[in-house]
Chain length 392, copies 2
Amino acid sequence: MKLPLGYRYAATYAGIRKNKKDDLGLIVSDTPASAAAVFTQNRVQAAPVRIARFHLEQSRGLVSAVLINAGNANCATRTGDRVALACCDAVGKQLRVPVEQVFPASTGVIGVELETRLIVDALPKLVQRLASNRFEDVASAMLTTDTVMKTAREQVRLTKGVVRIAGLTKGSGMIQPNMATTLGFVMTDAAIPPATLASMLTEAVGRSYNRISVDGDTSTNDTMLLLANGASGIQPAEKERAKIQGALSKVMEDLARQIVRDGEGARKLVTIEVSGAAGDDAAERIARSIANSLLVKTAIAGSDPNWGRILSAAGNAGVAMDPSKVDIDLQEVAVCRGGLAADFSEPDLKKKLDAPECLIRVAFQGRGKGSARFWTCDLTEKYIEINASYRT
Amino acid sequence: MKLPLGYRYAATYAGIRKNKKDDLGLIVSDTPASAAAVFTQNRVQAAPVRIARFHLEQSRGLVSAVLINAGNANCATRTGDRVALACCDAVGKQLRVPVEQVFPASTGVIGVELETRLIVDALPKLVQRLASNRFEDVASAMLTTDTVMKTAREQVRLTKGVVRIAGLTKGSGMIQPNMATTLGFVMTDAAIPPATLASMLTEAVGRSYNRISVDGDTSTNDTMLLLANGASGIQPAEKERAKIQGALSKVMEDLARQIVRDGEGARKLVTIEVSGAAGDDAAERIARSIANSLLVKTAIAGSDPNWGRILSAAGNAGVAMDPSKVDIDLQEVAVCRGGLAADFSEPDLKKKLDAPECLIRVAFQGRGKGSARFWTCDLTEKYIEINASYRT
């Protein structure tokens, strides 16, 4: 599948992290792209989050370049804003685009000053390397404790032709044993105005990134950026919106699932489906409560069909519910009916739970129409090992 | 320190759990005691919780006997209510007290039917054993994954004489690798009417049991019962209320801390103190968010002075805050001032964090008066090991 037209990519090692692996990435749109972004809800926000927000406002939603560094979150730093601004300024000068069209993003250790010089010195090489096929170089440069690269692509056939969507993301739990940080960048060559783009992004995030949990911690740097540069020459018609929204959601769900699958220490991707709840919101809260229960996550790690923990976690969601109406299935096996034990073979189900993907289905009997899907991973000793180790 | 007057205790092995260790306990007040109780907030509630609530209503807050079993939570069971009622009925008959003055409590595995016969058959022996000095037998019989018994005592000198308070509790995380369950029973020989007792219990629970977390999961059976039988012959005067409230809170805080110290797999008791917040409620939410952060708990396990995780967890509490006003101390060492790194020796602090008790202090600069204390434990590989193991 082809990448979206009109974007170029580059990565290099700037010396921000200790191990010599690319740590600086650049995405350039040949013409200023419409942009929409969502950021972490954490009250502690990193400097690049503040500057990215400020630049989007100043540029009225236009982005020409995205500068991403790994190895340092530039959060809780004395010089944070100044460094982020100086780096954007340098990128703007190199590329001859207004500084407010440069979007910064950082991921890495918190509370350590980031050196402007490292990034500015690396810029000429980075710009020189820019090429339309170096997409995966950027995907790789932004990784931290991730064990695999995370990208996704889709294309959508509209009446006037084909438009393409491609995304790259990172995240595994914590980085440089320090911060859970997720960054995501999705590019399309469709022509979509910023206001429309913002609502499309909100919709897609609500069904993807906002539906995953590795450890229940929200980072200070989380950023998701959607760019639409119109390089395909195609502006989707109003009635084609659902089609392109579907493709966008698919790309973002794919990326989000890749993060959970690569969760720190995780061996299993767990999908939680809740149905029959009073509303979608109630369903989501129940799914989230199950996804964040250490009891559930450790039971899955041990392939233990312990439905009592799932029922109890559902009861802790802060949502009104009647336990006697709850049905639970694990790997398509009925384990609980009407809040009581169903008749199933524990050894057989235990074997099924050894699979790399587990499905927890919670259904409320009755006429409720609320449903939600949520993704999490199992919790293993390896997670503790990764995160209890002393920073080095 | 003497136990409260007018109570007798007994425990025996009824065959509810597999390993042959006492699993049935009985507390009897020689005269009907004023009682106040609080129960789990989980929407899934065990049969004994329902019946205990019902009996307290029926008896207008009087309790003569408390029947406690370990090894089976009697939750999500077909026969749950019937079993709990039948057992209370048998106790009432044996002791010649009204059935509604019998308070049931269970802790153990969820979703497995509890056999009435086991308990009824053990009752004669249990009643025969009743003695005022068998307090610790009951404390021991109600334990599950706990590694130590948990009791606390206080006495209060009032103008008219001395009244005594004693409490016993259990809880460690999950039990019979299945459910996080806490039970607590506190007896006093002061004469206190039920309505006063209820408000005293609420006050004390708010500063003790509701301020601890091992793994963020609330069980289906959590029960805290406070009994006042007046056997001391002393009714505290209105102006002595604060004194007895203080002693009660002290007993319950002591019990709650014992639970956290014995948290599954825990090696360290962590105290979190938040001050200078907008209000006590905001302070508590921030403390709770830090206490439940897996990042913070694993950092403590690894003796890693990773204050960035603490700052980020505070930012995730859903409370308005200005990160640039945050000071953080670990083991009395300043690690963060005004949201930025303080100058400290990491190797020295790491050594200090190897202690069995850790103190995290978060202070907001300014004029906020809100404060809170909260207790949690570190998260170790052992926790996963205990909870990922298959039920046997």
